[in-house]
Structures are given as structure tokens and as C-alpha cells.
Symmetry: C2
Subunit: 306 residues, 2 copies
């Protein structure tokens, strides 16, 4: 992968002052083809908007390594289940545009659902094994929607590299697998989870939490720290670690566990014994709001959870 050159940014005549919003998919693809034709490196951050510091960190990573940064904002209907929060998913396009401008975004791709899924639409990308466990159990069509919309967005934006957050660990694993399996012509970069000062992983859905739920929601991060401590103190029995985590989470009044699981970092297959590396995945309902978080356990590295 080539490195971005400052001179080619100037060549493109794009920059923070010139940020453009593109709504039409055909125009997005034509623009991307033109940028590629000029030899420019395209960095891409796909989002559902309502941007927070986690998204900003992805935009900064993209800015550093690309000539042109494209941000997409699209609350993708196909990744929501019939009883999920599609209609009430938080939106604030003006604030998003302002943050994008501050992070040096060149193009916001902000399509309408009807232009992404016109009448007669019928094509879906399925990553099979990886999407059946964990979030795929309670959200059976979610990853089909994610894989499909990412395929569409990659084809429209034509990025050299796309940036995802580690917070959605299973999503990142699914996208990486899809890109590899379908030989997609781009790289996937997965960036560290960004947390609030008290440790809660940033998420657009955190706005749903009541004050009590917000307090109890710390149990996600706390239980991950607990897992990390146990692992680095020599515990390698995954069941024992999961049991301790569950006890911690279940002690909170508003918490209801969806899953707590220690798995292989690539295949997401459940582990009994943790050897050198694993990832702890969890999903917990705080009241009606479902939150996810994760942490990688890795022997020989400094502890990651703080």
C-alpha cells in the first residue's frame, strides 16, 4: 500500500474547506473513479452517523494515511431487525457535518435509503459461519445487512483502505473475512475502541441510557478488566473467567446478559482453554438498550484494559 503524499492532496484540490456532500450513489462512484484515475489514495470511514469520538479517531487515522478521506453516513435499514431501533436511531447530520469538517473529511457520502435499495432490490452478501454466533443469534439478519451495505459502499467509494472500530469486533471479523473471501480490492484497518473517561465504550446508542443504566453500564468494561486481570494472573480456563464476569454483570440491577464469551480471534469459535491469544466478547442489555464490548487477551503483551 502506497503512502499518501501531501502534494497529491493539493493536486486533488480537496481539503477541509472544500468538503462536499454527495447524496447520489452514481455521482459518488463517478467521483471515486475520477479520484482513482488521478492516482489518489482513498481512505474510507463507513458510519451510521451521530458521530462520536470513536468515529473521529477513525477519521484521523484515515486522514493520516490517505490523499482523500470519504465518510459515509447511512442508517442502513437492512442491518436492523423488524423489532429493532431503525426508526429511532439517533441522527444529527448538522453536527456530523461539523465534526467531519474539523477532521478534514473531503467527501461525505450521505445517500437516501431509496437510492441504495430501489424497488426490485434482491442481492445480499452472506458470510456464513462467522455470523451465526454471538450477535448473530439475537440479530439473525444483522450481519447480512452489514456485509451487503459494506459491499455496496466499497463499490461506490472505491477505497484503498476502509477503517472500522474494534468495538464492533464481530463486525470487523465478518468484514475482514468477506474482503478476503470475495477478493475485494481494498485493505481493512481495525482501530482501537475509544472509551469515555470512566471506561464505557463509545457508542451512538449510549444516548438511550437512563442515568441508572448509564451507571450500571460500567459493568461491561469492569468485567473485561476482570477477565484481563485473571488471564494475566495465570488463569487460562475460559469457563472460570466467564463465570466471574457473569457474576459481576448480574450484580447490576438493569443488566441482562445476552452473551459473555471467550473465543478464537479469527474464527470466533468458543475456547475452553486460552493459550496465547483470545478475545472476550460480550453483549448486555441495559434496560432495553443492548450494548457490546470486547477485549483481546494476549500473552506477552502489556495489559490492555485500564
Amino acid at each position: 500500500m502506497r503512502k499518501a503524499s501531501k502534494s497529491s492532496v493539493q493536486k486533488a484540490g480537496v481539503g477541509p474547506e472544500r468538503m462536499k456532500v454527495i447524496r447520489d450513489p452514481t455521482k459518488m462512484q463517478a467521483t471515486a473513479n475520477r479520484l482513482r484515475g488521478e492516482g489518489l489514495l482513498i481512505g474510507f470511514v463507513p458510519t451510521m452517523g451521530y458521530l462520536h469520538e470513536g468515529h473521529a479517531s477513525l477519521l484521523r487515522a484515515a486522514r493520516k494515511r490517505s490523499d482523500v478521506v470519504v465518510l459515509s453516513i447511512f442508517v442502513n435499514p437492512t442491518q436492523f431487525g423488524p423489532h429493532e431501533d431503525l426508526a429511532k436511531y439517533p441522527r444529527d447530520i448538522e453536527r456530523d457535518e461539523e465534526m467531519a469538517r474539523q477532521e478534514g473529511v473531503d467527501y461525505i457520502f450521505y445517500p437516501e435509503a431509496a437510492s441504495m435499495y430501489p424497488e426490485g432490490y434482491q442481492t445480499y452478501v452472506n458470510v456464513e459461519q462467522l455470523t451465526r454466533s454471538h450477535c448473530g443469534v439475537s440479530r439473525p439478519t444483522h450481519f447480512r445487512g452489514v456485509a451487503t451495505v459494506c459491499t455496496k459502499l466499497f463499490n461506490l467509494v472505491l477505497p484503498h483502505r476502509a477503517y472500522f472500530g474494534q468495538k464492533d469486533y464481530q463486525q470487523a471479523a465478518v468484514i475482514r473475512r468477506m474482503v478476503k473471501d470475495l477478493n475485494m480490492n481494498l485493505e481493512i484497518a481495525v482501530m482501537p475502541t475509544v472509551r469515555e473517561a470512566d471506561g464505557l465504550a463509545m457508542s451512538s446508542r449510549n444516548v438511550y441510557l437512563s442515568p441508572d443504566e448509564r451507571k450500571d453500564a460500567l459493568c461491561l468494561h469492569e468485567s473485561l478488566q476482570m477477565a484481563n486481570d485473571m488471564f494475566h494472573s495465570g488463569e487460562s480456563d475460559a469457563k472460570k473467567i466467564v463465570k466471574a464476569m457473569r457474576a459481576n454483570i448480574e450484580s447490576k440491577r438493569s443488566a441482562r446478559i445476552d452473551y459473555v464469551s471467550i473465543v478464537d480471534t479469527d474464527t470466533l469459535e468458543e475456547l475452553d482453554v486460552i493459550r496465547d491469544k483470545a478475545v472476550v466478547l460480550l453483549a448486555v442489555f441495559m434496560g432495553k438498550t443492548r450494548l457490546i464490548d470486547n477485549d483481546i487477551l494476549c500473552r506477552g503483551t502489556a495489559r490492555r484494559a485500564r
Copy 2:
């Protein structure tokens, strides 16, 4: 779509004498990225090899409109059912290479199955409604395999335009739908069916036919001619036309009908009454060999079947 320029062919330094065979998918994609970077128009003909005059016509169309012509030869395992002819599908790579050279192919992409579907492979592209009828009934995973391998090949070869034969009408409809739905960055060109002197549509599977089956196999083309004649004589009742076609086919000793169907040219939905346009699709077993053919009925145009 830009037109190919002769000067850019020279710029690429490729031509019939320099035809290259690429086996490694990574190398194919790197080559395609380089060609794209040079501003060259890539025309692509995906095949399963054992080339005949139908494939040659696609290569000629590609040669006329591209700077660089890529032919892929890959007997794709995922589009064969468990009891189909994957193992005995006819192969002759030396003859294929010779024909490719004569047609001015620049690159043959000839991957091994293990490099296209390595261990852990699990991603598939599904076009839904269009693949459930017709060939999708007797070959339930066929189009999933076709859509998946075409997605992979498009991502590896990065063509501006890919060429398919009208003989596989449903396949072309599925690919066109997929390209549109997933916003793939290429055009699909569908070229007319090429026939033997007596009317049999060219197919690599024709080599399976015994002399008697080969004679009886003319019923596919004959019945399409019959449909065309009835339509142009004013018949618009699809059932009546299908009935006459079935009677013709059933009069042949080695023929067993899979389907005979008159449908909308885009959605492939069954029609009762033919208005301005329709397509007649048929699949017939000649002994153990399943053959397909089709013809478009279109008011106000000259008759197509000869």
C-alpha cells in the same frame, strides 16, 4: 464508457504474441490495478474453458472495445450441485490457450480451486427472487455459485466491461441484477447466442451427446422457432405457445423437459399474455445431458430465430 484507443494498446505493450497466463489471484489483482493505473480499458470474458465459437464471439466483442482483454478459465466448483458434472466437465487448456491467442487475448486468468476457495472460505452472494425459478429449481445452489465467483473474478480482474452470452439467459439476468444491486463498478454486455449450422446453441456440454441425442437436441431450437412463428402470426397466449413447444419436444425419444416457460425479460416472472416483449426459456434433458436455450420475442422487430 470510453472507447478503447489503439495507441493505449501499444502503451500497454500487450498483444496476441505476448499473451500471459496468470494463475495466482493476488498477481491477477496486482496486474489489474497496474493496468487501471495506466488508464487502460479492461474487457473481461469469464468462462469455464473448453472454448467454442460462442466464447470466441465474446472475446472478439471484448477485443473491439477494450485496451486489454482478460479471459478467465475456471471450472467453478461452487456452481455445481453434488450430483452434477463437475469432475467430468470437459477441459482442454492447450486448445483454449491457442484459441485465446488467436482472438488477441492479453491475459488468461487460470486459477486453481484451492486458491479461489481456500480453507475457511464462507462468503456467498445471493440474488434472491431471480434465482428461485427455472434453472434455480433443478439447480438450487447454482446461481449462488455463479454470483459468488463472478464477484470474486470482477474484484480480481477489475474490468470496465464483462461479456456474457445470451444462451445462459437467466445467468445474464442474475449477473446484471447483482451488478446493479451491489453497485459494482463495471458494465455487463450480453452478446447473441452462437449456433451450430443446424441451429443447436453452442455449449461445452454438447460433447456429452450421443449421435441420436445430438439429432433430437434440435428440438430446442425448433420449438423456439415455433414460438417465434406463432408470436409473429399474432398469438399472444403464452400457454398456447408453450403447449405447442412441449408437444414438439416430447415427440423426440431422448428428450425430457425440465421447463418451457415464457417470462418477463427482466424479472423472469411467468406471463399469461405476451404484450410487446418476452423471453422464451427452456431446459431439456437429452438423455442425461441437460441443455438450455432461449429466444426473445419482441413485437415490431424482425424474427430472430432462423
